[in-house]
């Protein structure tokens, strides 16, 4: 026992020290613990709880909530196949089976020698270079049978990840269309200098003049949000950059953080200057952990250049610094109040709004939560002024939008367009010739059929957080909706009953239809449950969970109808087989010991 304790201290004390024994950093402490120990054993839970003055149950609750924390051994190599519909379209199912059979495992099982486990996970944001997987939270892209076989050999020979071929982990930007953001250069500190010349009020005025709206999906006017936070009473203020890009099919923030992080950090600093904050936090999704060291190096360089830290650019009293927090695999943390809970070291359950984060956010203080793209674009407004920005895009949706395009097209990747662009134009540009449908805005977005391709991308028409998945003529839209429904079921945080139970019920109904046991009854139930989830769920996750089903029911009804039985009802399970155990123990096989089908 004493041996365990001394080694516990040996492993955990340096981690605890690094995070100043602050329970708000529990997520980071647990992540580093797991990186050292491969999982988080019970003794570590007890040790950390004691050191952080938390109840063990509070620590355990965090481990249980997040998909990437394990409280039991999951192997030295933990492989998670990205299972977005785009990965499926690129053939991940066959590759997954291949790896399972090569390593002699079943899905979710840890090998007997404790070496490896294989499972699936939600979209990892590599849709433009999939199929993809994560191994110990590092992404491997462009999977092929050959790459899978090589991986199996590396795992069997217990080769450390750092010795794996670098090309496995290569992530390309794939930028195919650049508009103002991606083509305008910026010397580090240039936008910030301009903001300091304008002063907080002047910069705020430019933001409001630009009529710039947030790029995370909801489209709230950023200047109004900053002003509300600036004016809210509080002891201190925070800027949070929401880099929990979990919406299936979205990867534009990945590219911004990989190649335009100076703009993102500079945008955060400007936001901090305007609202009067001295601390900024980046909430980086666990799937993007591979960028952490590089981002931290960028922050360090900015500190050296006096772009972060004390008296920034010589402006007395303007102190601002940025910390990066990593998530641990929970889509719901993209919701701003869940994200704040997570930053405070708790399970990421959405709070009740109001009060909104601008008045009661991180640690109860006024907080601005902005999307990565929003913050990057704030630097453009500082550079060129609000009036200039207002002239781009449409009247109600000013500026440009980054789109992550994936699926059935020749050139998947990042496209920057002014708002107001038509879907048809986008499809032409990305080389999607036989598109039957596009899913705009990710799983929670809108499914558009061909007759709607004349519609425009803008908050006033088709709004989007940045994902656009293309489905060609030969795709089965029922299976697309079923994939999204399983995603929502997996990602429901379980806090409210309509979402927790409703997503499971909808999944069961979709599976039943897929198994050829569906009737008109299930179709009615799907619509009824969608209405219920939409009106009764606590947050946006549950409210939009039924949308892919509802949209495809309206626009691709035959893909459902062809699976239905022409009868009143059929049970999802085999009634006669349900009697088999009783037949066995009672040694009966007469006619009354069987159940035929109901006609």
């Amino acid at each position: 026992m004493s041996l365990v304790n001394s080694s516990a201290g040996g492993v955990l004390e340096p981690i605890l020290e690094r995070y100043s024994r602050n329970p708000c950093h529990l997520m980071q402490i647990l992540r580093e613990t797991q990186e050292r120990l491969d999982f988080i054993p019970k003794w570590a839970v007890d040790y950390l709880a004691k050191a952080l003055a938390l109840a063990p149950a509070q620590v355990q609750a965090v481990i249980d909530f997040y998909a990437f924390f394990y409280d039991s051994p999951h192997g030295k190599y933990r492989v998670l196949f990205s299972d977005n519909v785009t990965d499926r379209m690129q053939g991940n199912t066959a590759l997954l089976s291949r790896m399972l059979s090569r390593l002699g495992l079943t899905l979710g099982q840890t090998s007997g020698d404790g070496l490896v486990s294989i499972d699936t996970t939600s979209c990892t944001g590599m849709c433009d270079q999939g199929p993809a997987l994560l191994v110990n939270n590092y992404p491997v892209t462009k999977l092929s049978s050959q790459r899978v076989d090589q991986m199996c050999e590396l795992i069997k020979s217990q080769t450390p990840l750092v010795e794996w071929p670098a090309e496995f982990f290569r992530v390309e930007d794939n930028i195919h269309r650049r508009d103002v953001l991606l083509s305008t250069g910026m010397a580090n500190g240039q936008a910030l200098k301009r903001a300091l010349e304008l002063g907080p009020q002047g910069m705020l005025a430019e933001m409001k003049l630009s009529n710039f709206r947030g790029r995370g999906g909801a489209g709230f006017t950023t200047g109004v949000k900053w002003e509300a936070c600036r004016n809210a009473p509080g002891q201190t203020r925070y800027v949070i950059c929401n880099a929990d890009e979990g919406e299936p099919g979205t990867f534009k923030d990945r590219v911004l953080l990989a190649s335009f992080s100076e703009r993102v950090f500079e945008g955060m600093t400007i936001a901090g200057y305007v609202i009067g904050a001295s601390k900024g936090l980046v909430y980086l999704r666990a799937e993007y952990r591979y960028m952490l060291e590089k981002l931290q190096a960028t922050l360090e360089a900015r500190r050296k250049a006096k772009l972060l830290g004390k008296d920034i650019l010589g402006q007395k009293g303007f102190d601002f610094d940025i910390e990066i927090h990593l998530g641990a695999g929970a889509y719901v943390c993209g919701e701003e109040t869940a994200l704040i809970e997570s930053l405070e070291g708790k399970p990421g359950r959405p709070r009740i709004r109001p009060p909104f984060p601008v008045t009661h956010g991180y640690l109860g203080q006024p907080t601005v939560v902005n999307n990565v793209e929003t913050l990057a674009k704030a630097t453009l407004i500082a550079q060129n002024g609000g009036a200039w920005y207002k002239g781009l895009g449409t009247k109600l949706s000013t500026g440009t939008k980054l789109l992550s395009i994936s699926g059935d097209c020749n050139n998947p990747g990042i496209y920057e367009y002014p708002f107001g662009v038509r879907i048809a134009k986008i499809l032409e540009d990305c080389g999607a010739r036989n598109a039957m449908a596009v899913q705009v805005g990710g799983a929670a977005g809108t499914c558009l059929a061909r007759h709607e391709f004349g519609r425009k991308l803008a908050f006033e028409d088709v709004s989007t957080s940045g994902a656009l998945m293309v489905f060609g003529n030969n795709r089965d839209m029922f299976e697309v909706a079923r994939n999204f429904m399983h995603f929502f079921k997996h990602e429901s945080c379980g806090f409210c009953t309509p979402c927790r139970v409703g997503t499971t019920l909808m999944c069961n109904l979709m599976d039943k239809i897929a198994n050829g046991k569906g009737t008109g009854y299930e179709m009615n139930e799907l619509s009824r449950l969608h209405r219920l989830l939409k009106t009764a769920s606590h947050c946006g996750l549950g409210q939009s969970a039924g949308r892919p089903v509802d949209d495809t029911l309206q626009k691709f009804r035959p893909s459902y109808d062809r699976r239905l039985k022409q009868k009143d009802f059929e049970p999802a399970f085999d009634l006669d087989a349900a009697l088999a155990p009783a037949r066995e123990i009672m040694e009966r096989d007469d006619m009354d010991a069987h159940l035929g089908t109901d006609l």
């Binding site: 049970p571 088999a580 009783a582 009966r588």
Partner: protein
């Protein structure tokens, strides 16, 4: 053709049955008291524990208490679905399986072995297997997993008020609706 002033004259036929339940829902039905006299003006009972009729004829409304735990429950439920225009799940067990589903985590063979061989004081050492006895399903199911169900009245048991409101709504041609006080369980 009926005019709006002229309500439906014919009495509606109602059948009721308790499957894998405790009869609590039927007790709640009896608890209608003098309202039963109002109800009997509108309906007549077909198969029901109240009438002791053994099989269900053509009915307007079928009411089922309890979940589906054995083959006989399946037969009764199918008979109701076949003969009743409208089928109602009455109470927690019919809707969710209720208390009997506590055995769903156990292997039914183990359950029977435990009851007939291993319980203290058991002397028989056989599991009854007369052909008259219905066989147990491996899991207890809510009735809407076995047949299509039109309406659900929640409660354990649903209160007399809930049952009366629901049935009178249905009979009068209104979409049945239970307000908050009728859905409280405390």
């Amino acid at each position: 053709m009926l005019s709006p002033q002229e309500p439906l004259k014919r009495k509606l036929r109602v059948a009721t049955a308790s499957l894998s339940g405790c009869f609590g829902c039927h007790m709640s039905l009896l608890d209608l008291d003098e309202n039963l006299l109002d109800l009997i003006e509108l309906v007549e009972f077909d198969r029901s524990p109240i009438t002791d009729v053994k099989h269900c004829g053509t009915c307007d409304i079928g009411i089922i208490e309890g979940g589906v735990c054995n083959s006989e429950n399946v037969h009764v439920l199918r008979e109701f679905r076949k003969n009743c225009r409208t089928l109602i799940a009455l109470g927690a067990c019919a809707i969710n399986g209720g208390l009997p589903t506590l055995r769903n985590g156990l292997d039914i063979r183990e359950v029977l072995r435990e009851v007939y061989f291993e319980m203290p004081g058991v002397v028989s050492n056989t599991i009854p297997n007369d052909v008259e006895l219905p066989l147990l399903l491996d899991k207890v199911r809510p009735i809407n997993e076995v047949v299509r169900v039109d309406y659900f009245i929640p409660g354990c048991p649903p209160s007399r008020d809930a049952i009366f409101k629901f049935l009178t709504d249905l009979i009068a041609g209104r979409t049945p609706r239970l307000d908050y006080p009728q859905m409280r369980f405390d």
